[in-house]
Symmetry: C2
Subunit: 270 residues, 2 copies
C-alpha cells in the first residue's frame, strides 16, 4: 500500500495550485497537513479564526445555525476553495459554522502568516495571493447569492439535484458517503423530504443508494433535473478562477437551459 503521505500534496487544492511559484515556495514550509474527519468543526460561528484551511479531499460546509437550532448550508467548500475568508476581509471571525461534510484532508496555515502575505505588495499591484483570494471570495459571494435565491424559489427535488452535483464536482468518484439525515440538515429541510426526493431520483435511475452511500448513475439527467443555480455557480467559479493568475478573459462557459421548478410541473422526468 502506498504511504498515505504520498497521496497528499498541497496542489491538490486548486487555489494553492494556482499560486505563482515564488509565493508557493514561501508558503510551503508553513503549510500543515491535517485530516478532516466527518463532523469535525473547523470553526464555530463567531470564534476567532486561528487558521485558514485549504481542503484537498475533504468537503466542508458553511452552515448557519439559527437560534431555534434549524440550520442551512449557505455554501460548500472543497478542493476548489479556502475556508476563513473573513480573516483577510477584515472581520476576524466568520458569521457561520464550518463543518466537515465529507471526510478527507487539507492544509492549514496560521492566521498571522496568511494576513501578512495577503497584505504584501507585489510591485505596483498587490500580491498574487491577494488577487486570488479576492477572486475566490467573489465566487463565494455568488454561491451565497444563489443559495439565497434558490432557497426562495426552488423545490426540494431541484435543490437535492443541485447539491448532489456540486458535491460530486468536489469528489474523485461518483460515489459519496452521506446519509439522508445529513443532506436534510444541509438543505435545511426534513429528513423525510430527502427520502422522498432521493426515492424519486433512484426510481428514475439517476442515482442509487444504500444506507449512507449515494452513487450518481446519470449525471447528465441529474443536471437536467437541477435548477439553474448549479450551473450559474459553476460557471462563475470557472470564469473567476480557471485562468490561474492570467489576465485574459473567459466568456461564460455554457448556460444550461431552464428546467423545472416550483412554478412549473415537476417530477415529470422522475
Amino acid at each position: 500500500m502506498i504511504p498515505i503521505t504520498m497521496l497528499h500534496t498541497p496542489n491538490q487544492n486548486h487555489l494553492l495550485a494556482a499560486l505563482p511559484p515564488d509565493i508557493f515556495q514561501r508558503m510551503y514550509p508553513h503549510l500543515e497537513l491535517i485530516s478532516m474527519p466527518r463532523g469535525s468543526v473547523l470553526y464555530e460561528s463567531g470564534s476567532q479564526l486561528q487558521h485558514v484551511y485549504f481542503p484537498t479531499a475533504a468537503i466542508v460546509s458553511l452552515q448557519y445555525v439559527m437560534e431555534n437550532g434549524a440550520s442551512a448550508e449557505i455554501a460548500g467548500v472543497g478542493k476548489e476553495g479556502v475556508l476563513g475568508v473573513s480573516l483577510f476581509m477584515g472581520g476576524s471571525n466568520m458569521p457561520s459554522r464550518a463543518t466537515v461534510q465529507t471526510a478527507g484532508s487539507g492544509y492549514r496555515l496560521k492566521a498571522r502568516w496568511m494576513i501578512e502575505e495577503f497584505n504584501r505588495a507585489g510591485g505596483r499591484r498587490n500580491g498574487a495571493l491577494q488577487n486570488l483570494m479576492l477572486r475566490y471570495t467573489q465566487a463565494l459571494l455568488t454561491q451565497m447569492s444563489q443559495t439565497a435565491a434558490c432557497n426562495r424559489h426552488h423545490s426540494v427535488d431541484q435543490q437535492l439535484c443541485r447539491w448532489l452535483l456540486s458535491t460530486l464536482d468536489r469528489l474523485p468518484s461518483n460515489e459519496m458517503t452521506m446519509t439522508q439525515e445529513l443532506i436534510a440538515s444541509m438543505l435545511g429541510v426534513r429528513r423525510e423530504g430527502i427520502t422522498e426526493a432521493a426515492g424519486n431520483l433512484q426510481r428514475a435511475g439517476l442515482i442509487s443508494y444504500r444506507r449512507g452511500h449515494i452513487t450518481v448513475l446519470d449525471r447528465t439527467r441529474l443536471e437536467s433535473c437541477a435548477c439553474e443555480c448549479y450551473s450559474v455557480v459553476r460557471n462563475e467559479f470557472h470564469r473567476l478562477l480557471d485562468d490561474t493568475g492570467g489576465t485574459k478573459h473567459h466568456p461564460p462557459q455554457r448556460k444550461n437551459l431552464p428546467l423545472r421548478n416550483h412554478s412549473e410541473q415537476h417530477k415529470s422526468a422522475l
Copy 2:
C-alpha cells in the same frame, strides 16, 4: 428653499465619511453626484461595471432574477454601503442586478480610478480604502448568508418585519414610499402575501399605510416580530464598520431574543 446641492455631501455615505482625509481629498474631485430615481438599474447582472456607487439617500436592492422571471433580493445597500464590490474583488461584473428601490441620490466613481486606489499600497500595509472596502464586503457577505438562511426558515410575516426595519435604518424618517407589489418582488413572494402580512401589522398598530406609503409606528414591537436575521446583520455591520479605521474591538452590540418563526406559533401578537 435651500438649494438642492447643499443637501448633498459625499460624507452622507458612511463609507466615504469613514475614509481618512488624505484619501478622501484625492477622491473628491472624481466623485460625481448623481440622482437615483426609483426603478433605475445601476447595473444589470453580468454587465461590465463602469462605476462604483455610494448612495447617500437612495436605497438600492441587489436582486437576483431567475430564468423564469421570479426574483429575490439578496441584499440591500443604502448610505452605509457601496455598490459594485465585484470590481475590486476581481470579477469585473456583478452576479446580480442593482435596482433603485427608494429614490434618492448618491455619488459614483469611475471603475478605473477605484481599482487603482484600491490597489495602492499605503506603507507596509495596504491602503485604508482597501481595508474599508473589504470590511464592507465582509458585511455584505453576512447579509447574503443571512438572507439565504432566512429564506429557508422564516415566515413571510417575519421577513416583512425584517425588511421594513432594515429599510428604515437607511431612511431619514419613519415613512417610506413603497407599494406592496414592490415589497413582494423584493422578498420573492406573492403580492397578496404582503397584503396579508402588512394588514396584520397594521391591525396590530405597528405600522400604518396608504397606497404606496408605509409609516412605521412602533419600531420596538416591529423588532420583536422580526426574525433574528435583522439584528444579526445589523450587529455585524456595526462590528465591522463602526470603528472607522481603528483597531479596537467591539463586542457584539446586542442580541435580540428569539421571537417567533415558522416552527412556532405566530401572528399571536398581530
